[in-house]
């Protein structure tokens, strides 16, 4: 069989996933002859784990996804440290930075996104590159640069109080840096959180040593010294970590004349305006939304692989119910869906325990979760996230749903137990049977054991049987 030539541009989370999903379906390369082009010189790595690298929990080589050995073993032509400079759709080939070109029958854009640098004076040098002491938080090289610049105890400013900025801040605080997060909005993670949750998150992170300047813009970076904010205050910083958002990398797509909005526009088959060209991950715009998280990218990779390999031509991507989890040691935060919806048909549940840093908010519509924030309530959060992900009906017990296993009922003492309550499970002995045996003269634990076999299995009910004998010995005659 003549395999189709497929070229994947990008060897990040999305591109490498396409490669592994294709080889999962076509392990011998009979359907797809695969070339993957990655601009970074490293093997593909797991960007989700960079905050763990920053925190020092993982070494950079521990976050490798697929390397040249994998590529060789799986018959994938992997070109790293070389970038695509042009896509020629009429010739169906891509031109590479080393002057060569690669022909394709199908092309996959997985170009990802790049860090957005806010227009603060001094962040960029005169040549347009980042000033010294300014590092985005995007790549494994960025991570290495941050770690080498953030000497223990040194002040560090993080520009951006979104998910990644806070993960970076947490990691740096854990390394012993004095971290200040500067965020232009009045509360953290404003896309995912309401103001109350944002405030409580800031307070929780504050106990870990992180300081916040909220609702403030950085107006000027003074190299080696710090940031001047728009209220005239100053944040000392040996290092500025920029995590102010990303922009889809659409340059190749626009140059090639593909339809581009905020991202490369794709349909449910992840096809761009040229049906031979697919796009996925951070660079793609599907049903009006652009990515930024790994889960949608991996689900898209599965669909693209189905279509490229022809293993399931009906495979389509219809969106992912995104669950945001902050990965910061000591902080349990889950946010999902639309938490700002206050229309009259929603059911709103809220629990707030500022002293213990717990906050839970659930937005329900027609008995289904449409939005949630769960801070410091991990059990409830895990259940709510699954209900949201599967679109399932929520339980009637709203309090239990909101609070998770925190809701408990104290077990009844012997006097209040019903007669049919099983005391000894091993031998199906009820309280009633023990009472009858007592009344027939078995007035000790061993006596009850002989009469009913209670306690003769695992022995786990000895305490309960003892309490019943004590109760029987002291109770008033009926």
């Amino acid at each position: 069989m003549n395999a189709r030539r497929v070229v994947v541009i990008g060897h990040g989370m999305a591109g490498s996933r396409v490669a592994s999903e294709v080889r999962r379906r076509d392990p011998l390369g009979e359907r797809v002859a695969l070339t993957v082009v990655g601009a970074e010189p490293h093997p593909a790595y797991n960007r989700v784990l960079l905050s763990a690298v920053l925190a020092g929990a993982l070494k950079p080589d521990e976050v490798t996804l697929q390397d040249s050995v994998w590529a060789a073993d799986n018959d994938v032509s992997l070109l790293t440290g070389v970038s695509v400079v042009r896509v020629n759709r009429s010739l169906r080939c891509v031109s590479l930075s080393d002057g060569t070109s690669v022909a394709y029958d199908a092309l996959v854009l997985a170009t990802g996104s790049t860090a957005w640098i806010p227009p603060t004076d001094g962040l960029l040098g005169s040549d347009g590159s980042l000033a010294s002491g300014v590092v985005p938080f995007r790549t494994v090289d960025d991570c290495a640069a941050i770690v080498s610049l953030a000497r223990p105890g040194a002040p560090v400013a993080v520009l951006g109080g979104g998910l990644l900025g806070l993960e970076a801040a947490r990691g740096l605080a854990g390394r012993g840096n004095a971290v200040t997060v500067v965020h232009p909005v009045g509360h953290l993670m404003e896309r995912q959180l309401d103001p109350a949750a944002g405030a409580m998150l800031a307070s929780t992170l504050g106990t870990l040593g992180i300081e916040f300047r909220l609702g403030r813009l950085a107006t000027e970076y003074v190299p080696g010294d710090g940031l001047v904010l728009d209220d005239g205050s100053f944040v000392p910083a040996d290092l500025v970590v920029v995590s102010a958002g990303v922009r889809p990398d659409v340059a190749l797509a626009s140059d090639a004349g593909l339809s581009v909005d905020r991202g490369v526009v794709v349909d449910d088959a992840l096809r761009t305006s040229d049906p031979r060209v697919y796009a996925l991950g951070d660079c793609a715009q599907h049903r009006g939304s652009v990515g930024g998280l790994v889960q949608p990218a991996w689900e898209q990779a599965s669909v693209v692989a189905d279509l490229l390999c022809g293993t399931n031509p009906a495979s389509r991507y219809s969106g992912t119910p995104v669950v945001t989890r902050l990965k910061a040691k000591g902080v349990e935060l889950t946010a999902l869906g639309d938490v700002h919806d206050d229309s009259p048909d929603v059911e709103l549940l809220r629990f707030e325990d500022a002293r213990r840093g717990r906050y839970a908010k659930l937005v329900l519509r027609s008995d289904r979760v449409v939005g949630a924030i769960m801070l410091g309530a991990p059990d409830a959060a895990a259940a709510v996230a699954q209900l949201y992900d599967s679109g399932s009906l929520v339980p009637e017990d709203r309090l239990g749903l909101l609070l998770g296993r925190a809701v408990g009922v104290a077990s009844a003492g012997p006097a209040d137990q019903p007669d049919d309550a099983v005391v000894c499970r091993c031998n199906t002995v009820t309280k009633g049977a023990l009472v009858s045996a007592w009344e027939s003269g078995a007035t000790s634990v061993p006596g009850l054991a002989d009469a009913t076999r209670a306690t003769t299995g695992c022995g786990g009910c000895k305490g309960a049987v003892t309490r019943i004998t004590e109760w029987l010995a002291t109770r008033q005659p009926a």
Partner: protein
Amino acid sequence: MRPREFPTNRGGLCQKGWTSASLLASDRLTTPLLRGSDGTLQPASWDEALSFVAQRIREIQGESGPDSVAVFGGGGLTNEKAYLLGKFARVALKTSQIDYNGRFCMSAAAAAGNLAFGLDRGMPFPVTDVDTADAVLLAGSNVHETMPPFSQHLSGAAVIVVDPRRTPTAEAAALHLAPRPGTDLALALGMLHAAVVEGQVDAAYVRSRTTGFDAVWRIAAQWWPERAELVTGVAAADQRRAVRMLAEASSAYVLTARGTEQHSRGTDTVSGWINLALALGLPGVRGSGFGCLTGQGNGQGGREHGQKADQLPGYRKIDDPEARAHVAGVWGVSPAELPGPGRSAYRLLESLGTPSGARGLLVFGSNPVVSAPRAARVTDRLASLDLLVVADFVLSETALLADVVLPVTQWAEEDGTLTNLEGRVLLRQRAVPPPEGVLSDTDVLAGLAVRLGQPAERFPVAAEEIFEELRLASAGGKADYSGVTYARLRAGEALYWPVPSVDHPGTPRMFLDGFAFPDGLARFVAVDFAGPAEVVDSSFPLWATTGRVLQHYQSGAQTRRVPELMDAVPEVFVEVHPDVAARAGLDDGSLARVVSRRGSVVARVRFSPSIRLDTVFLPFHFPGAGRANLITNPALDPISEMPEFKVCAARLEVAS
């Protein structure tokens, strides 16, 4: 019935044990039965019955070849019976078609143990070692109901229970992780990820005693706990807490059981737990370890001596020329005469009566009409046979379909050895004589073998005599019993296999000096999560899982005959969250029809406020329309051929 002080149960008995003596008297078979021309089972003499069976076997095999007669054994048979059954199939019937119900029980754990350690002994350490553990993780085990006396060994440990249901075991645990059914491997991967990130991996152990960690980490790296949380429903914080409890314990064990094993990726799932245990440095170290909790009475010994399709005595592989030569030598036949590997249990049952399958089947100690997955299909296949012979001591649901039923001895009426969950060989000696008219399974096999033209001396009937032969056959194998003798066992010696010579003390603890590979290193096995074989959708929106209750054993053929047990749990029920039941129009105590893509089961609704909203549970001990296995999915694990008993897609309806 009196309990005895013994290390495993510490003198404890549950209700099944206390009432077991009633099986010796009531409602048991005492005469062979032969299906008459009117279609009913009629009493017959032993000679009549055995001669009829031998005659039919000759006719069927004469027409359709040796493989047209198959054998199905059981994990409750003694080592001697299991051994003789395997020999009977290969030598007297010359059929490759033999397997047993242990395929439905231990096969996934056994396969994973072999892959990782080079050898499968359920617990490679005495059960009493667990007494001093600080932390124990039980994956898919509900010991408080399934083996209550065992739970005494857990009383000192912080127990972590992995089970979709809040079972009594989970209720008693320090930490309960309740994954969505069929997602245990994602949980194990998330926990391994947590162990690495939190710095809890025993790097020196991994370096010096294992190989393959890097490939495993490549996969686990993609299962950060927050991702595993969304798939499993187990909070990332709880995953980390569980790993911390295991890592910080000075003595810790990871133990698996059927809940995590009976899946279409069961071997991979057990490998996932073994990988976690290896990363934490537990196996092969005194005071910690990995093990699986064997189910049936002889679930360990039953899987070692040749009633498995691919196996010869001593845990030898039937396709290994050296193994064939050794065993053929003991049996006095030529290696070339021994058949090769046959079909695994479900495949064997499913093929019965089809052009490529067997036309005749001999069943010993098993009740597949109730216990096999997709039970209606299996029942249909059994009904299509030209000859069905069932040896049992009660008239089981499978026996009711048989052409010939042979009444055999049970536990207290016979001698024999059993190998328990820790690999210790136990001698069970006869306590009472069997009733008139009852013979041992070994008499049945010898009687048939002779009628099929075998020399009588090749099929001894006395347990000790068979055991002497088993010793020779197992010598040099992985499960080497050659140093075990009835005399040593009678003298009270605690012998754990391997026991390679009569002056060898046995091996209570394995792997302390190395694992059973030439290089002595344990293998990390790179496995990734794939999920259950079928998915839920709008027609089948719930996950159905199956299991046991305290009062019943296996298919219930025995325990449903004990009035006290039937009083406690008389019929099948479906455990369901009250909200889910209400949406289906069901009340507590009403009758529900639980429907899967393969069939439906009618069960009494039992409200369980603690069960997951997406999950229902059914015990599998009941017959007829109450067979939980009418809905289970026979999707097979590619490595062990374990069926997916523990998860299928289902819906609830009001039973009319």
